[in-house]
Every structure is written in structure tokens, then in C-alpha cells.
Point group: C2
Chain length 319, copies 2
Amino acid sequence: MANEFDLIHRYFSPLAGPEGLGLGDDAACLRVEPGFDLIVTKDMLVEGVHFFGDDPASSIAHKSLVASLSDLAAKGAMPKHYFLGLSLPSDVSDEWLAEFSDALAKLQDQSGIRLAGGDTTRSLSGVTVSITAMGTVPEGRMLRRSSAQVGDLVFVTGALGDAALGLKCLEEEIEPDECLIARYRYPEARTALGIELASFANACADISDGLLADLGHITAASGVGADVNLAEIPRSPTVRELLALAPELESCIYSGGDDYELVFTADQSKQDDIESLCASLGVPLAAIGCVTEKAGVRLVDQNGKLVHTGRSGFQHFET
Amino acid sequence: MANEFDLIHRYFSPLAGPEGLGLGDDAACLRVEPGFDLIVTKDMLVEGVHFFGDDPASSIAHKSLVASLSDLAAKGAMPKHYFLGLSLPSDVSDEWLAEFSDALAKLQDQSGIRLAGGDTTRSLSGVTVSITAMGTVPEGRMLRRSSAQVGDLVFVTGALGDAALGLKCLEEEIEPDECLIARYRYPEARTALGIELASFANACADISDGLLADLGHITAASGVGADVNLAEIPRSPTVRELLALAPELESCIYSGGDDYELVFTADQSKQDDIESLCASLGVPLAAIGCVTEKAGVRLVDQNGKLVHTGRSGFQHFET
């Protein structure tokens, strides 16, 4: 394989904007427009933990960048720049690198984010991807986790559980389904909606650890609680069919991660505006519950009975 | 060990500035002062490649952050924020984490940089540290690699070779020497000088890959070359003694990495000012050569004879 500088020149310099100085220097020089805050998020994805070694390079690249774009969407930020740290085994092939960088290029075109810098190193085993992504919001307008209000409605975009069930397909726990696998491998970030939501939502998070876990981050940070109606959690037709046959998989829709949908809370008076906004952007929307005074997130069935959820989201280093 | 959120709360939240939102959100919110550019650099350090698994946790933390501080110094930037990506084996101990975070705290106090966010994940083997660091420079004043001028003098700070020889001690290639090992494990970034140099230097880089390699990055980016006098390259007393006994190790002073000194070029008319500046900051300075029209970096001995240097710096993925 090429040496480090050739590799950067061949695969990554074409992805860089002018602020990245062609990736020929040790740093990037960014100018933030006056009147804007810079929102910064960092994610680290490790082979064997966040993805499989034999996942397509395009999926590894796509998921890594979408995880960051989704964090920016949850903050209401317009994607701007990202920095890519890549630790690669010495036998990585040109084909792998070409597929990886092509997937980044495609997502750059869709989202408007541009590569501004990074670091490429050897690893002793497996691939590690670290992305630091930046976006901008008008000063003081970042969407937070910590401002949910008692009485707010809880909304969620898209449909949940597809990615977690896609992972189960790859782990051969269930019959393979191309739609589910594609949702796991090539998720989308709700960028356009996130930017607009800053005007309507009180608190927002993206669903990477699972609905209950990520809503739990909002309620904990806001000093409130939430009731969620199980029946209202949106499911894709594929998931609906699958759960009809295998109801024991239902926890995937509230505990499964990697869907990268948004969960947010907003005052009831904003519901019409939010529904119009989502309709105009073609984003499915569901009101799934409400914010309560009582701490914690409670999942209830159609009869108002508490559903036992067990483990509610993905954590590293569990005791 | 604690779970991911406890771990962040216990070891890393105390390091965070207000812009990091206590590390309780998925992103940080930064405001760049009007009239300043934001300089961003990213480094990735991998166990077995950049450090040894049995290196002290304090050294791994220190070297990781200094690598970034040194990049900022080479750009003339005032250190502000950093984001820490940490991939850890599941058996990492509380003692290791305490030592690691203490070392970061100490370096934060010395440099003024603050933790603003990050990501902590499990690894299947070994530690990977990824740091994205940010500093500010007055608009348009970033020091670059690409503006060296023919006729400039080439300067270098401190003394070179200590870190590379410290590494040889740890690899048991030479007799252990505590001074050299300490220079390898706990290097310093030339932060204060870098900030001031923006007024005097034409081009600058930090020496992480080796003097000839990093000066080579400057000359290549500037479309010039350089002649370096071997005898002028500054050596510490320890290195001087060692080379008197083992002259075959001399290449460490021009090809050895990890010293994190600065190499820069400046017009001859600035020499007095630069010498005064370095004296006032207590930074040793040496003029080691000059910038030429002819491309490439040439190392010459006292008689003007070209020194054969062989491999000139550290690269990943060499062919």
C-alpha cells in the first residue's frame, strides 16, 4: 500500500475544503461567521465493538460520519466541517480505501459537510474511526437535552427498531432482510429537520443508544420524567410484520440503538407547526408521550399498564 | 469498572470548561471571539504504534495532549479547547484512569487548554487516544508551513535527539538514562514561543517526525529547499556525551521524532528580535541553516560536505 502521505493525497485530499489547506498542513484554519456558535461533537467507532471487520468499507465510513451528522442534527446545527482520525491495519487494500473515501464523498455531497483535516495511523489490529464534526447555529440557539418542560409532548421521527433488527440479521439471530440490514448499515441523519426544529423544540437528542435511553438522557438533564405509549412508537411495515410473528423482539423498538432518528419534546401549542414542518420535509413524525414531573421514563401499554423494559440502552463498560 | 457515564462523570467532567456542558450533552457549544480564526488539529495515538502498553498512564495522556499542543504552537495558536476520544480495553483499572486524567489536568493548568467533549468506548485490544485540539490566532495570522522564503535562516528550539534516544533506552538498545526517558515520556510543547513567533517567522512546523522530515514538509510546501549544518543542530549535554561514545547514534538528532521542538524560518533581519524573544522566554534557540532555491533538504558537515542521511523521518504505511 501507499505510504501515509500518498494515501492522504490520493484518497482524502480530494474531500477537503479550502479551510483544510489540502490536508497538507498539520492543522486547519476555520473562520466562524459572526453571530454563530460552533457546535462540536466527537465519536469514536471501533471494529468489533461498533461495526464488524467484514462490514463493507462504505458502511463503516457512512455510519461513522452519520453518527456525527446525527449529533449535529440533534443540536439544530448546520453541518460544516469534520476531522477524520483513521487507524488502519497495515494490510488495508487500495480497494477498501477507495470504497471508504467514496462513501464519505457521497455523504459530503448530501449533507454539505466537508473534510477539514485528520490523522491517519497504523493499527496493530482492526480499524478505528474517530470523527470530530462541527456545525453552526445562530448564537445561543443550540438545541439542548436539558430544557424539556413538564407538559411537553414527546415526538419521534421516522420508525424505530429497523437498525437493531438489521444487526440481529447480521448476527444470524433472525432471518436476513435486506431492508433492515440496509437501515443498520446506511442510516440517515435528520439534518434538515434538526436545523428547523431549533425554533420549535424545547429539548432534543438523537437515538443512537435506544429510545428509552436517549429520552432518559433528556429527562435526567432536564430534571423531569416522561411517559411513553408503546403503541404509539412508530414501526416500519417490515418491523410490523416481523413483530407480528415474533413479538418477543418488540424491545428492539424502544431499546435498540443505531436508528439515528430524533426524539424531542415541545410545547403542545407547537404541535401543528411541527407536523407541518415534518410534512414539508417528508419526515414521518409521531407523538409518543408526554413530559411529566415524576423522574424517569415509563413505557406504558394501551391500558396504561407499565411495560417491563429491562435493559434500556447500550452502554460501554457496564458493571 | 464503572460504566461509561460514571467513568466520564468521575474522571473527565472535572476537566471540562463551561463550553463542554459538563460533558453531559452530545456536543459542545463554542463561541469564537470576533477577529480570531480557529485553528484545529487532530492526532490519533495507538498502543503498540505510538506508545507501549506498559507506559505509565500519565505518559500516554501527557504525550497525547502535548502532540496536539505542539501542533497548535507551530501554528502560533493560543490553546483553547480539546476533545478526547478514548478507546479502552474492558479491564482498564480505576488507578489507570485516575493517573491518566490527573496528567491531563496538570497539562491543562500549564497550557490553559480545557476539555470540551469527547467519546469513551470499549476496545477489543489496547488503548487508542484521539485528540482534536483547537486554538485561536488573530484573523489571517496562522503560521503556515508554506511561506518559507529563499534566504531565510532556519532556526530550531531546544535540543534534538533526546526523545529518540529515550525511546532507544526503553527498547533496550542503549543503556537506560532517566533524563532521556523523561524527555521521551513527558515532552513539552513550545506554546508561549509559538504564539509570539507569528510576528517574526515566515514558516513553522513542530518536530514530531524528525528535523529533516519536518523541515522537508516546510520546504516542499513552500517550493524551496534548505541547507542544514550538522554541527549547528543543538544537542543536550546528555546527548553530547552519548554521541561522543557512540557516534553511530548521531542520526537521532536529525531523524529522530517526538522532541516536539519547533523548526521555523525567518528573514535574517529578524534574527536579533527572535533571539531576544527566546531569551526572554528561556527557550534555547539555534540557527542551523538557510533556505535555498534548490528543492530538498541537505545536511552538510563542517567542511560543507553532504552527509548521507538515509531514512529521514517516521512515516506510517511505508512501502
